[in-house]
Amino acid sequence: MALEDRNRVVILEDRVENVSGAEFPMSFDGQETAFNMESFKDSFDIRIVRVTPTDIEFDLIGVDASIANALRRVLIAEVPTMAIEKVYMINNTGIVQDEVLAHRLGLIPIKADPTEFLWKHDGSVPTDQNTIVFRLDVTCEANRAAAPGETDPKKKYINSSVYSNQLVWDPKGDQSVRFESNPIKPVNDEILITKLRPGQTISCELHCEKGVGKDHAKFSPVATASYRLLPEIQILEDITGDDAELFRSCFPDGVVEIVEERGVRKAKVVNPRKDTVSREVFRHKQFEDKVRLTRVRNHFIFNVESTGAIPPETLISQALDVLMEKCEISKAALAAAVKSGEEDE
């Protein structure tokens, strides 16, 4: 296979070919597949396409699938965040059971920088360095000012719906000083926690601790992190006239444009990145041999959506740091294993 083609995953009508790379030793005579720092530096690129307060889209080019996948896995499961871990129920006369309420509270994203906090181990004392304390005190009452015959619970009762903005932060120790400029609160104020009716009350103390997504999904800092490979559409033979119009309609808007060349209207691929690779082209017999759908094997388009607790740029940096730390741990463990192996002998 040509060097270019080795880099492509071919998408056919009913299957996908060349899925796994042939990048192992001795797979191709005479072709150099061993690692080369220079060629890595040449082919590697990272481009940030879009950054918003909640998501980031960036391209990772020239790395292998295992590296990109490791980054994705770490983003989902191993970047630490703060989340409500312990709920001390003082009073709950609402309809929703204690444990269900506690579960819902745990899932609320908390806007606190996890790097400012230490890990808390089971059984150790909660301190201002490893715990954030919130209080939730809500009582529902009838609204005397409401019109008789009013049916909307929001008008008929006060506090009939409990929202996340009713979580009150109780700064302990030096937290009020440390977080003076950015007080700790839930990321969103409009998360509905539970509903109450007059006479019902909820009173509880919530402790937030540092954790990772591997432990419980509530600690995951991303709404989701995913990547896709860059699609590529190769037109092998010119597609002209009405066929060109049909060809254009087979792809999402903006992928294919019609250009006039010497009086002939031809189809031209302008932005394959927008393609969703639906393979609609293959449903039309006339395009069977004229088009080749592939994906570039080492061009990853990452889309990371943060829950809001950690800004997306910081998230990627932290994920890369976590990965490096894992390598460090492996290195130290390997040294220890070798040493104890030598001692045994």
Partner: protein
Amino acid sequence: MNAPERHEMFTLPEGARKIDISKDAKMANCVIFNIQREDHTVANILRYKLLQNSQVLFAAYRMPHPLEHHVELKVQTTSRTTPVDVMKEAIELLMQDYGNIRSAFDNELFRMEASGGDASMRGARIGAGYGGFGALDPTTAEFGVAGGMGGRGDRSDDVDIDF
């Protein structure tokens, strides 16, 4: 009732070693690394880096059972080096790789912030209204800050929302 503790997935028990090395009896220069409390994240990247070393004849990993949280990495090399040495090299190279990615990412971010965001939006349309989904925090004026992001200081800017 029978569910194991979630933290068992990543906390090493007392006295256990993180990596156990055992020689394979049947093949020469072949070693099996048993890494405790790790999963595909680390094992796959180690395997990939090992395969890029021309001295490695065989490198593969497996997770014998998904409920037991350890991976086995089997490495065989030519007689010119040892599996432990190539493993050390692989870890070093991986750290360099991720270090490069990290610095490239930081540079790219810095470049974007410096140029105010708009000019460096390669491939993105200004006002690409995906910012509409930024409605995660509706009580502040942050959502729909479409297009350029010049770092955190810019978030309060008034920008048109393109839904």
